[in-house]
């Protein structure tokens, strides 16, 4: 008789096996929220790089543009929660410098702008300016419409013999969620 009991036991185990005390609906709550830091732009400027430009009367300026193609990609649009730009600028020009980062759409429509003042150098020594721009969840939709940035640095002078060096380093912190 015990052999039938054994067979019954095995079949019972197979039939009665179950998964319990689990909640697979929790899968809906799974969120990856990595924080990615990535170098952004860097450059060094001397007085020879600056020139008079229309629209910037009484000033010397430099302007350049680069694409940041992934910004308006579907990944960024769907998963970028917020961002933070960090700029570290060393300036030995004896006057302040206006820094402007204008983020444009494919059609060159401005959607987001970062603007800050860089402190002047003192006695030919460089002064360090650090600036953080936080792009909140409310603003991120604007940033992710853009795919290029126009960088404009302005010296409030027309003195082309001014001596000094400006070095910029920057990074972006992307707060992702998917």
């Amino acid at each position: 008789m015990y052999k039938y009991a054994l067979l019954f036991l095995l079949l019972s185990l197979a039939v009665s096996s179950c998964i319990k005390d689990t909640d697979f609906d929790q899968a809906d709550e799974i969120e990856l929220s990595p924080v990615v830091e990535l170098d952004f732009l860097f450059f060094t400027l001397e007085i020879d790089d600056f020139q008079e430009n229309p629209g910037f009367e009484g000033s010397l300026t430099v302007v350049d543009t680069t694409e940041i193609r992934f910004l308006d990609g579907s990944f960024a649009q769907e998963n970028l929660l917020s961002a933070e730009y960090f700029f570290k600028v060393s300036n030995s020009f004896p006057i302040g410098v206006d820094a402007n980062f204008n983020f444009l759409t494919e059609e060159n429509e401005p959607f987001y702008e970062i603007d800050f003042l860089i402190a002047p150098g003192t006695n030919n020594n460089a002064t360090l300016t650090e600036f953080i721009q936080t792009i909140t969840a409310e603003e991120i939709e604007q940033l992710t419409q853009t795919n290029k940035v126009v960088v404009t640095f302005t010296l409030k002078t027309l003195d082309e013999n001014l001596s000094g060096v400006l070095n910029l380093q920057s990074k972006t912190t992307y707060f992702l969620r998917f």
Binding site: L10, A14, T22, E29, I30, E37, L41, F43
Partner: protein, 472 residues
């Protein structure tokens, strides 16, 4: 993305299997035990057998060495994301998830007048293993901000999988009173294969030296490759336009239309004395030669990303500046190119080894002394130890099993096992085999202690089959 993660977690926690069949090994009443040891004992009165087509062996085995479904999806106050994070950090890059499934299509065997027992058949097999890519999981889950100077190891990517059909034919013979030998030749017909097992390199974010930008994002000594066969043509919309085309292609490959390979099994059983016997087998010593429908990808090189350096070139009206972003993309693909190659490759089958030592005892139902070398006894019992190993990409996996076997009646036998392996140290299994006239049926399952809640099991194994046996 989270659905991909969900599927990954589910696969990792619910459907992970190995290939150990400790409940069938050495059970001579089951014809399929010859697939585990071609030199196993075949009852002397067994003249002929054939498996019920498609039902002679279904084997499903899954295992996760580091995490269970309950660890992730168990009901608790802890948020699931915290549980996933805890699991990621608790697991090692040597933890693995495996899935093995076998479905026997045909199995047959017969005894010749010269006492050879020939057997053969066809079975389909799926075998996959993925090592936990710990560093890549941390990078995906946490990002790089809090991991400056930490070298994420790209070598953590280590996975392989096979979907194939095996055609086999073997011979078994008791060559002396004590020794039984056997061998089996195999032809493998691969339907699909992938492997990415010898990767190296790292990704690290570290503070720059001040000459360029704030950080340096460094890919160093990257050598990452994925080899596939049977995959490229599935992406060809001219050849495959729906699931019926995919099934048709797979069926064609299943019956010797795919990439072919050869292999063999060998085994032996030695009766040391009246009570003791030892056995051993080596399975799947062979390889598949992937020459058709091969598509491989390989990324190699070193690259340091500093961001984009602007040069502010003097421009005339309407003149475009440098294509910084395009140049950056080109530079990366130049330094770390991803090549698509179509060169043939050889995939070794995962070699398996079994060994066992058994102490036989018991007595006949009538109360007479047992003739333990006469397998016709009705109350044979045995105790023993079995060892199993399978060669995997990073390292072999091992299992040790203690078992107790009992012939309950002349038509019913049972085997109970305790197995310690990479998955758990408390795996209790039970197998029952019955010979109801000519009809042979067996059912075996392990990790019975987890059947109350399978979500807490690190591994599960189930074997089931039906055969017809003819005796003298």
């Amino acid at each position: 993305m989270r659905y991909v993660l969900f599927c990954f977690v589910m696969c990792c926690t619910c459907f992970v299997f190995s290939q150990n069949k400790q409940l069938i090994y050495g059970v001579e009443e089951i014809p399929q035990s010859l697939l585990l040891n071609p030199g196993g004992k075949v009852p002397l009165d067994q003249k002929f057998h054939f498996g019920i087509p498609l039902f002679s062996q279904l084997h499903i085995n899954a295992g996760s060495s580091g995490v269970t479904a309950f660890d992730i999806f168990g009901e608790s106050e802890i948020n699931i994301n915290t549980k996933i994070r805890n699991s990621i950090f608790a697991m090692k890059n040597t933890d693995f998830f495996t899935v093995t499934q076998q479905l026997e299509l045909i199995n047959f065997g017969w005894r010749t007048t010269s006492d050879f027992y020939f057997s053969g058949g066809i079975y389909q097999e799926l075998d996959m293993i993925t090592y936990f890519p710990r560093d890549l999981a941390i990078l995906a889950w946490e990002g790089n901000r809090d991991y400056l100077n930490y070298e994420f190891d790209l070598g953590d990517l280590n996975t392989s999988g096979d979907l194939l059909t095996v055609f086999h034919f073997g011979a078994n013979k008791q060559v002396s009173d004590r020794l039984t030998l056997g061998a089996r030749a195999k032809i493998y017909s691969s339907m699909f294969n992938y492997q990415s097992t010898n990767n190296s390199g790292s990704f690290v974010t570290r503070l720059g030296d001040g000459s360029n930008n704030i950080y340096e994002h460094v890919l160093q000594d990257v050598d990452v490759s994925v080899q596939t066969s049977g995959y490229g043509s599935l992406r060809n919309s001219d050849e495959v336009s729906g699931s019926s085309d995919v099934i048709g292609k797979f069926l064609g490959r299943a019956f010797l239309g795919g990439n072919l390979g050869v292999g063999m099994d060998v085994g032996a059983t030695y009766e040391i004395n009246r009570n003791w016997s030892a056995s051993a087998s080596v399975l799947d010593f062979g390889a598949i030669f992937h020459t058709k429908d091969v598509e491989n990808y390989n990324a190699t090189g070193d690259y340091t990303l500093n961001g984009i350096e602007l040069f502010f070139p003097p421009l005339s009206e309407g003149e475009a500046t440098f294509p910084y972003y395009t140049n950056l993309e080109d530079e990366i693909t130049e330094q770390v190119p991803i090549d698509t190659l179509y060169n043939a490759y050889t995939a070794w089958r995962p070699l398996k080894m079994n060994a066992g030592i058994t102490y036989h005892f018991g007595k006949l139902l009538g109360g007479n002394e047992c003739d333990c070398l006469n397998r016709g006894g009705d109350d044979r019992q045995s105790l023993g130890l079995q060892l199993y190993s399978i060669f995997r990409p990073k390292r072999p996996q091992y299992a040790a099993t203690l078992f107790y076997y009992r012939r309950l009646t002349d038509f019913l036998s049972a085997k109970i096992t305790y197995t310690a392996d990479a998955f758990s140290m408390d795996n209790i299994g039970l197998g029952v085999v019955g010979d109801f006239g000519k009809f042979n049926v067996y059912l075996a399952a392990d990790n019975l202690l987890r059947y109350g809640n399978l979500a807490k099991a690190n591994s599960l194994s189930l074997q089931l089959g039906f055969n017809i046996k003819f005796e003298n």
